[in-house]
Symmetry: C2
């Protein structure tokens, strides 16, 4: 579940969010957005957790790849639905991953 | 719960992790590390969620602030305990936040 990203540099989009109580279409759309993101050029992986606060981080090869994903037609529609129905607040941060290190048993 | 960070640029440390089944001292140490981080120069905020996968993101004014926090004595001890007891795997990513945008109802 920890994304197996390549050696830096690469980009991360941190999407921190709070949900409304409206579920209408949310789960289906979230799954569809993961499927579409995985098909985008430059997609490197993602990590997603929710426990009240939701954090979804997607990893990308370049800023161009992030721009293309942001403008993808179905994703634009999902972003609008997000603001109109599903999210009470969110913050998106576009980040250059400069270094990483890891540990596993 | 979404961190109220200043205008970019600033830094993010993404700590993605999986826990072992060992709880011995974990919660107390996690709370203490938040308290100590908040007291560090250059600390800007943090967001933390766990649901199986854990993601904790801390935000910092500079790479120096991150280095100082990484080398803080009690934090060094907690990092060692983390590898010996609490985490089965983790990945830490040091990121420059270049842009952000937000929404709220």
């Amino acid at each position: 579940m920890i994304a197996n990203t390549p050696a830096p540099p690469y980009y991360a989009v941190i999407f921190s969010n709070m949900r409304t109580e409206i579920n209408d279409g949310y789960e289906e759309t979230a799954l569809e957005m993961v499927r579409l993101a995985e098909a985008q050029v430059g997609y490197l992986g993602h990590e997603s957790v929710r426990d009240g606060l939701g954090i979804t981080i997607s990893y990308w090869a370049s800023l161009d790849a992030i721009r293309n994903w942001k403008q993808q037609t179905d994703h634009l529609f999902a972003q609008r639905m997000g603001r109109e129905k599903w999210y009470s607040a969110y913050k998106t941060r576009i980040c250059l991953v400069e270094r990483d290190y890891e540990f596993s048993i």
